[in-house]
Assembly symmetry: C2
Homo-oligomer: 220 residues x 2
């Protein structure tokens, strides 16, 4: 895959060795999660909202579930937003406090999202959101009615301007004088995993967990 | 504990039933993580940066590791930031796509952070950050030198203006006509956990994992 174009906003000014301009890294980070943090400016101050997202098959567009964001975009359709997706992979414990850190994969996407209004486009955006979080669930569950779709806000953001940072591996003070201190150093990995599906309390007991849900809770 | 004061920024305008004004909920959400998303305005656009944080014992102040943020604050010391901490607890699968959702706990804190400059205050902020992520590690590892402390940026933000949202439990369409569709509905829980500590590749084999690290990887 190609490289990400570097802009004033996405240039890595700090910890450059953790920066990546590989588009493949961006796409992998986005595919590995389904909740992002959407940053926008409301009444002159920044607001950071967690929301769900999805991406299309060729990873050219990010779809976001909007709410507060969509109201703000109706007032200012040209507004730039920043969408950040972060996976925390571990805590890096060095010999010195100063060299401590976090293993993580993070992507930041900038742009002016479009608030989708055409029903077919909204439906497709919602389908991608749903398939991103739970593949197979869109075809299984009841599809949205016209009224439900009208009540849903979906934002589409080009995956054109993005910044990626990745840190992995152990602490870096193994070749410093601190290594002589005799202190333990390493990583405590952190993992996020699905648990076994829990049926709704009011679900009829004869309704089994469908295979796509069993696969999902095994697969991540 | 007390209730959070509601301001124009923290009023829950949407999904009000998921809003909480309990200060205890805010503190519990902050204590349950160590990576936040810091939103700030740089050159007129929003930026959302993942960073580590800690809180003091009586939960009056949030401490943040700054970098890009601190440079921006030097230029505009009165700037408001938004710090969001989110824990994803599960995916809520309903009978209809429209009723799908996420179980989560999220806190948003607004305010103008102070960039700490006084060494003793910076050291205490850094200690709280370290103890928040890995209790016991501050006393175990080598403390920062004057030079290292000078290179570290710590921001302090009053825990005064905050908004909390929590969603838990199963899907809510069990009493709707959709319940007759015979579809499975429930929650796929998502859990984040520490793994077993992994020693640095260059660590002398006789150095054992210290008890506070063993306790940490068991405890979360």
């Amino acid at each position: 895959m190609s490289e990400l174009a570097v802009t004033a906003r996405t240039r890595h000014s700090r910890l450059r060795d953790q920066g990546s301009v590989e588009r493949a890294d961006l796409v992998a980070i986005l595919r590995a999660g389904f909740v992002c943090h959407l940053g926008l400016i409301i009444d002159g101050y920044p607001m950071v909202l967690p929301t769900v997202y999805g991406i299309d098959t060729d990873a050219t567009t990010l779809y976001l579930h909007g709410s507060v964001a969509s109201r703000s975009l109706l007032e200012n359709p040209e507004a730039t937003v920043c969408v950040t997706v972060t996976h925390v992979d571990g805590l890096v414990l060095a010999r010195s406090v100063f060299e401590h850190g976090v293993n993580y994969r993070s992507a930041m996407v900038f742009g002016s999202p479009r608030l989708l209004s055409e029903p077919a486009e909204k439906l497709e955006g919602l389908r991608l959101l749903s398939e991103h979080a739970a593949p197979g669930q869109w075809a299984y569950a009841r599809q949205p009615s016209k009224k439900e779709l009208a009540k849903t806000s979906i934002l589409a953001l080009d995956l054109a301007e993005a910044s990626v940072k990745i840190r992995s591996g152990g602490p870096s003070d193994g070749d410093s004088p601190d290594a002589e201190l005799g202190l333990w150093a390493g990583v405590i990995p952190m993992r996020t995993a699905w648990g076994a599906p829990e049926a709704a309390a009011d679900l009829a007991p004869e309704i089994a967990v469908p295979p796509h849900i069993t696969a999902l809770s095994r697969g991540r």
